[in-house]
């Protein structure tokens, strides 16, 4: 690892909302930024937001955002002295951190050794085993053992179990297995997905806990040796192991449990010589016992809910730590305030098997007002493609109480318009109304048993709305032709005259 030093120019090796997020933090610290982009992202917000931008290659990640060589070359070309990897892509590849450091540049993240220990879930279990952190029963899996060997390992762990990518995260390379017959196919598919997503097909088995809650603890560790926890995030609202809604504090975590989990998280971080921001994930069972799941050695998608409660900018802290500075707030984190919830707005048809939705965004309308934070990368005319993950916007609501935060998030979702694609907003709204969510008594299966979309009502509004929309379509002669160019007043006038004046 190179010695800490001042960062003057930061290359952000990512795209989407997290690239925008990192650029924001850098600019607030007076650090110049360099964006990198694939051909699909030429006009993306992170390209426009950064001071400079360098093309990496064609749209597929393997030819752009996963190209370590091109990213290091872009750092050389622009004179960037540090790189922030965001999440996903190269963020947990120790080889990337090493390549950056070999070029004499700063990697904004943990030491490569800590990434290696924690990035692989198997070695992570080994790393924390000695530190008293409780572990879920599990077993490694040798590819060469073949189906028979896999089955033997599976029997040892017990059913139901999970096949998981060792290098994984975000639900990719993950399969739940209920019975022995499913083991071979699940292992093959998980390994194949893991190769595609992470370039590493190693998978392992882990006991599947019943009614588990997914609760994670945010840690910060600086170069001076301080290791601090900033409370927990409840991440049990998941579909296909992708988090959809996260909240802090967790409704299930008592002050005693929090203290124990924070201590375990700090112990795990110390066990691997951690530095920077990191997240220790736990499963909490129905009896409030917790088990170490993995450590994410990067900034997490859902980090804003911690930031809102603590008034701490975690990305700025990462940048401080990478420069050898101590944490901004001294020896103790600020007192957390209120309750925060994040919803991930994704381009997908949640009511039809969570199918991804693609298209061109129209005039997006994002919410605002008190206690609403928007982290997105959307803009009018943006093409939503299949190349990257389908997260468009993270909405965070912060309020004095959990009930107020839920009400605030609801109203913000009602304000949001992302025309041109189908989003999971209807599902999120129904989840916020789900009695299990409202009571706080839910586990990671909540979305599997989600209420279906409401049945058609006898409300006349849809009937009239459909007729008016068709009327407009079939009677174009009754309206003036849409003017060329941007004569929008005329277009608006058409809307008025065609559809009638005030009631």
């Amino acid at each position: 690892m190179s010695a800490p030093r001042a960062i003057r120019k930061l290359l952000v090796a990512n795209r989407g909302e997290i690239a925008v997020r990192v650029i924001r933090a850098a600019h607030e610290l007076g650090i110049r930024t360099v964006a990198v982009y694939s051909d699909a992202d030429r006009t993306a917000l992170h390209v426009r937001g950064a001071h400079e931008a360098v093309r990496l290659g064609p749209a597929p990640p393997a030819e752009s955002y996963l190209r370590i060589d091109r990213i290091v070359e872009a750092m050389e070309r622009t004179g960037a002295d540090a790189v922030h990897p965001g999440y996903g892509f190269l963020s947990e590849r120790a080889a990337f951190a090493e390549a950056v450091e070999a070029a004499g540049k700063v990697f904004v993240g943990p030491p490569a050794a800590a990434m290696r220990a924690m990035g692989d879930k198997l070695s992570a279990r080994a790393a924390v085993a000695g530190s008293g952190v409780p572990l879920v029963p599990g077993a490694p899996l040798a590819p060469e053992a073949g189906p028979a060997g896999w089955l033997a390992a599976a029997r040892e762990v017990g059913f139901p179990l999970m096949v998981k990518a060792s290098a994984g995260g975000g639900g990719k390379g993950m399969r739940r297995v209920a019975a022995e017959a499913e083991v071979p196919e699940a292992v093959r598919r998980a390994a194949s997905e893991a190769v595609t997503a992470f370039g590493d097909g190693t998978v392992y088995l882990e006991r599947y806990l019943e009614e588990p809650r997914h609760v994670e603890v945010q840690v910060l560790a600086d170069a001076q040796g301080a290791v601090l926890a900033l409370g927990e995030r409840e991440c049990s609202v998941q579909r296909r192991h992708q988090k959809v809604i996260e909240e802090s504090p967790s409704p299930v975590v008592t002050p005693d449990l929090r203290e124990a989990m924070e201590a375990a998280a700090c112990a795990a971080a110390r066990a691997c010589g951690y530095r920077s921001a990191g997240t220790v994930e736990f499963l909490v069972d129905a009896r409030r016992r917790f088990y170490f799941l993995e450590m994410n050695t990067r900034i997490q998608v859902e980090h804003p809910i911690t930031e809102e409660r603590y008034g701490v900018d975690l990305v700025k802290e990462q940048l401080r730590i990478a420069q050898g500075l101590p944490l901004s707030f001294g020896a103790r984190p600020p007192e957390p305030r209120g309750h925060a919830i994040e919803a991930r707005l994704c381009a997908e048809d949640a009511d039809h098997g969570f199918l991804p939705s693609t298209g061109v965004l129209g005039a997006v309308q994002l919410p605002g007002g008190p206690g609403i934070r928007v982290d997105g990368h959307v803009y009018a005319d943006q093409e939503v493609t299949l190349h990257y993950d389908n997260l468009l916007v993270k909405l965070v609501a912060h309020a004095p109480t959990r009930a107020e935060a839920i009400a605030r998030l609801r109203r913000a979702l009602y304000e949001t318009r992302l025309p041109g694609v189908t989003t999971n907003i209807p599902l999120i709204l129904r989840t916020l109304d789900d009695p299990r969510f409202v009571s706080g008594r839910y586990d990671t299966s909540i979305l599997e048993h989600a209420a279906p979309p409401p049945a058609d009502s006898d409300d006349l509004v849809p009937v009239v709305a459909a007729a008016l929309a068709l009327h407009r379509r079939v009677r174009p002669t009754s309206v003036p032709a849409a003017p060329a160019g941007r004569s929008l007043s005329a277009w608006r006038a058409q809307g008025r005259s065609a559809w009638g004046g005030p009631a």
Binding site: K172, S192, E193, T196, A197, D351, G353, L355, P356, T358, G362, A363, A380, L386, Y388, D389, L413, Y414, E415, T416, R417, P419, G420, I425, P426, L429, P453, P454, A455, D456, S457, D458, L460, V461, P462, V463, V464, A465, A466, A467, L468, A469, L470, H471, V474, R475, S478, L488, W491, R492, Q494, G495, R496, S497, A498, W499, G500, G501, P502, A503
Partner: protein, 180 residues
């Protein structure tokens, strides 16, 4: 006021007649099954959104049309309303009912993606739920499964091929009578 344009809307299992009239002052009047409803509709912005004021509600929505239905996107849900104008209905009635469906069935892609792997070939017998092919979309691999027992009569895609939503992937014929 002269007779307006009539539409037939099917929603919530019930068909209603909607008549849209232009009043002498240029405003629209909407009648649902004969009952007048004061409405006001205005276009919002460049994305085709409409704002409808009706029955004490302010509702903003977008509409697209698919297979004789309007898919309406409200802020919190998508709703499907069968909709037909009078002329279309008369024309359809004159040419008889829609053609009966053929016996075979197409398995179509429910999402855009790239075909990663094809698991079946023409002539294969398949079971309800059996994986026919693997479609990769947004870095997730999705198994496309048989909607019912049958025999593959045609495979229309090959690995590596990019497909749109609704693309026909595999044609399934009903299974022979002796199939269990």
């Amino acid at each position: 006021m002269s007779r307006g344009t009539r539409y037939f809307a099917t929603y919530g299992g019930r068909e209603r007649q909607v008549e849209i009239l232009t009043r002498p002052d240029g405003r629209l009047e909407v009648r649902v099954d004969g009952a007048a409803h004061p409405v006001d509709v205005a276009s919002v912005g460049p994305s085709g959104l409409l704002n409808l004021l009706m029955d004490g509600q302010s509702v903003t929505y977008a509409a697209r049309f698919e297979d004789g239905a309007a898919v309406l996107s409200f802020h919190d849900r998508e709703v499907r309303v069968g909709i037909e104008d009078e002329r279309t209905r008369l024309a359809r009635q004159a040419t008889g009912k829609a053609k009966a469906r053929g016996r075979g069935a197409e398995v179509t892609s429910v999402m855009p993606g790239v075909v990663k792997e094809v698991r079946v070939a023409p002539g294969d017998r398949v079971r309800d739920g059996q994986a026919l092919l693997i479609l990769e979309a947004m870095k997730m691999e999705n198994e496309i499964r048989a909607p019912h027992d049958g025999v593959v009569s045609e495979v229309r895609v090959a690995p590596g091929e990019a497909v749109e939503k609704g693309a026909r992937l595999v044609r399934l014929e009903p299974p022979p009578e002796d199939a269990g």
